[in-house]
Symmetry: C2
Subunit: 313 residues, 2 copies
C-alpha cells in the first residue's frame, strides 16, 4: 500500500480550496467551492466531501494517507472550528468528525497559520529547521511557533496567536474586544487603517489621496514608486512588527522567522525596516542570529499545500 498522496483543504470565509498533493509537495489536482453558498455547516461538509471523494477516487483511495484541513479557529486536539469570526456558521463545528464519517480517512485539523508553518517545514524553506516562527500577515495576523522540531499547539490547541499580543498598550480597538493587538497595525487591514488615520489628520502630499478604495496593494504600489507617505506607512508598520517579533524571539529563540501573506508580498519594502527595528529591540544575546525569509510557498496554493502537510507532519 503506497500512501503517496494527501488531501489538503483550506477553508476560508469566502472560498474553500482543496487539492490532492504528492508526498513531495506537488499539487496533482485542485479545485474549490464557495464557503458562503451553504446555509448549514452540515450541507457544506457534505458538498465538500462529495468533491473530495471524486478526487480520491481518481488516484484510488488506498493511495491517500489522509486529509489535512487548515480552518479558521481550527483546533488540532478536538478537530473542531470554534466561533470563527469570518464563517457563516457559529458555535462549535465538529469538522474532523463529520469529514471522517464521510470519507473514512484520518483527518487532521488546525488553524491556517499553523498549517502554513507545517507546510513550510515539510515542503518549504524551513525543511531543515527545528526552531522557527511562521508569521502570516494577511487580513489579520496569524502565527505558528515551531520548537524542538514540533509545532507548539499548547495545552488547548490554540497556541500561536502572535497577532493578539498587545503591541501598543491602550492602542487601537481590535475585533477581539481588546486594544492595541499587533494585528490592528501589522496586517493588510492594519496598514490601511494607519493610512486612513494619517490622511484624515495630517496634510500629506501623496498619490494615495487619489485612490478611490485604499488597499494594502495600492499602498505597496505607491511605495514602489517612491511615494514618501507610503514608505512612512511601511516604516511605522515595520516598527511595531519588529518590536513584537523581538519580544517573541526572547521566548522561543528561533533560527528564523518566515513571513507569508498579502502584506509580506511587499518584500524588502516591509522587511528591510522590520529588520532594522527588530535588531534595535533585540536582547544582545539574539542579535544578528535570526534569519528573515519570505515563505517558499508564497506564490503557490499555500493553503492547500500547508493543510496537506498536516498528514505527513
Amino acid at each position: 500500500m503506497n500512501e503517496n498522496y494527501a488531501i489538503g483543504i483550506d477553508i476560508g470565509g469566502t472560498n474553500t480550496a482543496y487539492g490532492l498533493v504528492s508526498r513531495e509537495g506537488k499539487i496533482i489536482f485542485s479545485n474549490g467551492l464557495k464557503t458562503t453558498s451553504y446555509k448549514s455547516f452540515e450541507e457544506f461538509v457534505e458538498a465538500l466531501s462529495s468533491n473530495v471523494r471524486t478526487m480520491i477516487d481518481r488516484v484510488g483511495k488506498e493511495h491517500v494517507k489522509g486529509i489535512g484541513v487548515g480552518a479558521p479557529n481550527g483546533n488540532f486536539y478536538t478537530g473542531e472550528m470554534v466561533d470563527a469570526a469570518n464563517l457563516p456558521w457559529k458555535g462549535v463545528l465538529p469538522l474532523a468528525k463529520l469529514l471522517k464519517q464521510q470519507l473514512n480517512k484520518k483527518v487532521v485539523v488546525t488553524n491556517d497559520a499553523n498549517a502554513a508553518a507545517i507546510g513550510e517545514m515539510i515542503y518549504g524553506i524551513a525543511k531543515e529547521m527545528n526552531d522557527f516562527i511562521m508569521v502570516t500577515l494577511g487580513t489579520g495576523v496569524g502565527s505558528g511557533f515551531v520548537a524542538n522540531g514540533q509545532l507548539i499547539y499548547g495545552h488547548d490547541g490554540f497556541a500561536g496567536e502572535l497577532g493578539h499580543v498587545i503591541a501598543v498598550r491602550d492602542g487601537r480597538p481590535c475585533g477581539c474586544g481588546r486594544n492595541g493587538c499587533m494585528e490592528t497595525y501589522c496586517s493588510a487591514t492594519g496598514i490601511v487603517r494607519t493610512a486612513k488615520e494619517w490622511l484624515s489628520t495630517r496634510n500629506y502630499d501623496t498619490i494615495l489621496r487619489k485612490e478611490e478604495k485604499l488597499s494594502a496593494y495600492a499602498i505597496q504600489q505607491a511605495a514602489i514608486k517612491g511615494d514618501h507617505f507610503a514608505l512612512e506607512l511601511y516604516d511605522f508598520t515595520a516598527k511595531i512588527l519588529g518590536q513584537t517579533l523581538a519580544d517573541a524571539v526572547a521566548i522561543t529563540s528561533p533560527e528564523a522567522i518566515v513571513f507569508f501573506g498579502g502584506l509580506a508580498h511587499a518584500g524588502d519594502i516591509l522587511l528591510v525596516p522590520t529588520r532594522k527595528y527588530f535588531e534595535e529591540n533585540l536582547l544582545s544575546l539574539y542579535k544578528n542570529k535570526v534569519a528573515f525569509h519570505l515563505s517558499a510557498l508564497m506564490n503557490e496554493n499555500a493553503g492547500v499545500l500547508g493543510a496537506s502537510a498536516l498528514v505527513w507532519g
Copy 2:
C-alpha cells in the same frame, strides 16, 4: 548497574550549592562553596569537582547517572556559561567540558530558570503537565517554557528570557542596555526600585519610610500588615506581570504558570492582583483556563533539585 542518583549543582554569583539527589527527588547530601573565593574559573571548577567527587564516592560512582548544572547564562547545547553578569569571571567558560574531564560523568548544563522548570516537571507541581511556564521572580526574572512535554531551548540554547520582554515601551533602563524590560519592574530588585521612586516623588504615609534598607522582604512584611503603600506597590508590580504573562500565553498556551523565587514568597499578595490583571488582558480564547501555582520546590533546595533533574529530564 542501578543509576539511582544524580548530582545537582546550582552556581550562583555568591554561593554554589551542590547535592546528591535520588531519583525520587530526595536530597541525600548537600553542601556548598563560595563562588567568589576563586580567582580563576579553572580553580573554581577544580575545587567544586573535588567536593563533588567525595560525594560521589560515598554512594559509589556506578550509582550516579550524571551531573546537572544550573548556571548563570548556562547553555544547554554548548555546556558553556557566556558573559554572565554576576560571575567574577568573564567570557565563554567551558563548564561542562571541564567538569566532564574531572568527573568522567555525563554533564548537562542550562540556566537557573530552565533547571527550575525541569525540576518542577520531574519532582514538583508540573509532573503531569506537557505545557507550562515557569517564572522565577528573584533578583532578576528568569523563565522556562515547556511545550509538548519538552523544555524550549531554542536554536541557540538561550530561549525563555521572559524577564527581557519589553513590558513598558521606553520604560526603566535595564542592565541589558535596553529599556522597560519586565524584570526592571517585576523582580525583587524591581519592586524596590518602584518603592524608592515613589517615596522620593510622592507624599506617602507608610511604615516603609522608617526602613533603613528597603528590601522586597520589608515590602512584603509591610503589605502583610496592611500598609497601603506596600499593597499599591504589589498592585503596580502585578499589573505589569499580569500583562506580560497574558501576552506570553498567546504564544505557548500553557495549562499553568508556576511561580518561584523571592518575590513569589509573597504568595496571594502578589498572585491575587496578578491574576486579576492577567485575566483582564487575556485574549478571550484563554480566559479562565490557565492555572497559577506556587512552585512545589519553593522551600527546598530548589536550585540543587532542579539541576539534578536535568540528568533525568
